[in-house]
């Protein structure tokens, strides 16, 4: 049921007059959009935005080698470690929330509600700040500054996104028709077997798009490493911008562009996976869509 069908069902097929009107509307809106863009470009050019040195300086080979590439690697490191941590935590807590034991359910619910209502930047920054307040500091472990910062960023990302992923997983289990588990019990499987052989494989397949969508958000959230001066992309862009005083905006735009490329590639992967997995399980397609949507919102 594509949008195309829906919009055409609301009115009759366009006649010659309607087609002409629609063409005029297209031309007018194109003119308006181009006009806005052209106006912005002229204004920016007037302020020297496009000056070659402003772009060339932050993209100097040396800067690329010593700052941009390490920054991308640091961002991807935080992303990879944070994703692994969040997926592990999310699986444990997600199944904790539907556990047979009340205490486990209760603890998991408290965890999810608590960490979902706090801003990630607060979690990262507070845990980083209070390290060392209680006579114990992670610096004792012999980590240098960046490894320590990476640890706090990754722990923050994992703890927060673990709570979100747990909700996605729980929603996935709830969306699975009850008959699936019942059929498992009916053929004599034990609770653990039902979960492992019937529920989990289907839930994982159903929820993979939602999980990947959440990972795109996690990738964007690595930029919060800025507040604890972890040398990820945004932080490095600030340093480069400061080094080349009049290229500050340019450096930030380059960083934003790199984020865009990384996140866009990841979200294209989501679409690809979604298409391949469609209609392979017993879960109703509609509820999966709703959950995905909820996951995208729950950023």
């Amino acid at each position: 049921m594509s949008r195309q069908n829906e919009s055409t069902v609301l009115f009759d097929a366009l006649g010659p007059k309607g087609k002409r009107n629609s063409n005029i509307a297209s031309a007018v809106s194109a003119a308006v959009i181009l006009g806005i863009l052209a106006f912005a470009a002229v204004q920016l050019a007037g302020e020297g935005f496009f000056e070659e040195s402003r772009w060339a300086n932050p993209l100097d080979v040396l800067v690329v080698q010593t700052t941009w590439i390490p920054a991308i690697i640091d961002t991807l490191t935080a992303f990879a470690l944070g994703s692994i941590g969040a997926l592990l935590l999310g699986t444990v807590v997600g199944f904790g929330r539907i556990s047979r034991f009340a205490a486990t359910r209760w603890a998991s619910t408290v965890y999810v509600q608590f960490f979902r209502s706090l801003p990630l930047v607060l979690l990262i920054w507070i845990s980083f700040t209070i390290d060392g307040y209680f006579g114990f500091t992670t610096e004792v472990l012999g980590w240098d500054g960046d490894a320590r910062r990476l640890t706090f960023l990754v722990v923050g990302l994992a703890v927060y996104n673990g709570a979100v992923l747990a909700e996605i997983l729980r929603a996935g289990v709830n969306a699975l028709p009850a008959g699936q588990a019942m059929a498992g019990y009916a053929i004599g499987l034990r609770h653990g077997q039902v979960q492992r052989l019937i529920v989990l494989p289907q839930v994982l397949r159903n929820m993979l798009p939602a999980v990947l969508a959440q990972l795109v958000i996690l990738l964007k959230d690595t930029s919060l490493g800025y507040v604890i001066t972890y040398p990820e992309l945004l932080h490095s862009a600030n340093i480069i911008g400061r080094d080349y005083g009049n290229s500050f905006l340019q450096a930030l735009i380059i960083a934003a562009f790199i984020y865009f490329v990384l996140a866009y590639a990841l979200s294209k992967l989501v679409v690809l996976v979604e298409r391949r997995l469609r209609k392979k399980t017993a879960a109703p397609a509609e509820s999966v869509q709703q959950i995905e949507q909820a996951a995208v919102m729950a950023e």
Binding site: T129, M297, E299
Partner: protein, 218 residues
Amino acid sequence: MFDNFDLMVAALGAGAWTTVWVTLVSFTIALVIGMILVVMHVSPAWPARWAANAYTQLFRNVPLLAVLFIMYFGLPSVGIVADSWVWALVGLGMYTGAFVGETLRSGINSIPLGQAEAARSIGLTFSQSLSGVILPQAVRAVIPPLGSLLIALVKNSALVLAIGVTELTAQSRRLIEDNESRFDLWGVIIGVTVSYLLIAFALSYLVRLVERRTAFVR
């Protein structure tokens, strides 16, 4: 445990108030942007659809913090200067607007095709079936996801501390790093946590209220 309790409450209260009004004002901006985007998305003019899509993709794939930095630290170099709270509202509003637009669009898409077909087959015109059949259902369908967006915006609003707006997180940061008056560390942490939980619960109660008011039996 709570040294300088009254000062701490006053500071956190001021921060919480900033968080709340920044959230509510920028959410209003986001709603307006989202509505413009969804109109562009369903419009017959392809350049409008294209522009709405470009806007949405841009803001969905760039971190909010980068958006705020570009606005507050970057734009002055091309002669565009504004106070940090202005950029906080504009940045949060534009960023969330992209998500609001997607939510509204999925709300329209969630109405079963049969509804539109039924409206057309009893002779309603395009605008009649849209305003009398599709939109009333779509609006109800998007209230819960819009509510989640509002809660997410409370959390996202913490990022404006990076451009110098002293909302709740920035206030707690100031209190902890304030060595003069020695605020109790746990006091501040508990205070800021409770404040965020209260704001989130209050807003989700509000959303549930609106949801119940607009609910109908299908």
